[in-house]
Amino acid sequence: MGQFFEMGGYAGYVWPAFVIVLVVMAVLWVASRRGCRNSEHTLAALRKNRQQQGIDAQ
């Protein structure tokens, strides 16, 4: 197991490469999901607002 983590003496290069790939992919993923959800909420609120205004105007 120790041998696996040592990566033949190149642990300081191999592991950071894999970690940064996974971190960037995860951050992009979470940020995009959150952005999409926020946009859905904003849109729903705006539409509801307009509907209510429409009712008020009548």
Partner: protein, 241 residues
Amino acid sequence: MSMHYFANPTRFTRLAERIQPWAEGLAGVLLVVGLYLALVEAPADYQQGDTVRIMFVHVPSAWMAMFCYSFLAVASAIALIWKHPLADLAAKASAPIGAGFTFLALVTGSLWGKPMWGTWWVWDARLTSVLILFFLYLGYMALWQAIEDGQKAAKAAAVLALVGAVNVPIIKFSVDWWNTLHQPASVLRMDGPAIHPSMLWPLLIMALAFKAYFVALLLVRMRMELNLRRIRALQLAERTT
């Protein structure tokens, strides 16, 4: 079915919501399998030792960097020529993904270059043209931000994307046209891959994982951009009435 069939935003959103979980699941499974093969099953290289494992994230990242830009350029062309209403959103949605993968290609390349070449960076044709690609992505995204009128922004960004597309073949052939430390292509070559199956398989599975990830992320970001466009339209309508 015409190209404009899925131009209907509601139809697109419904389809995107149906495809997305499959793309996500596929990306997750392929990523786990690919990482296992890359880190455990694949042999160390007889010359490069375990640093060769960096290839399994570096090469797919670099492929995605080029793929995303090609996608962005084609979508921009469709937006400019046929005015397809989702094309400019697709282009805009793909830019951060491409920028992310270009960044990863540069960083993992640097982490591979230090132990093997003895340097983090050289100003040779391959590395420099990929750095330019990264700046093209950033410029493209900045241009969208800088112009307030959505239609004008889309047009300017699309023109920039098409001009920048010259860089893609330059990246691909830079290793053949100029002297460079970077090795030439080992997989995508006329006489077939020059790489052993024990390393080719993990590489291809990681590449597929990144592709599936791209599809899932693109769909999420396109839905977001579509919502943002609707929000802007509603806000504009409210201001004028």
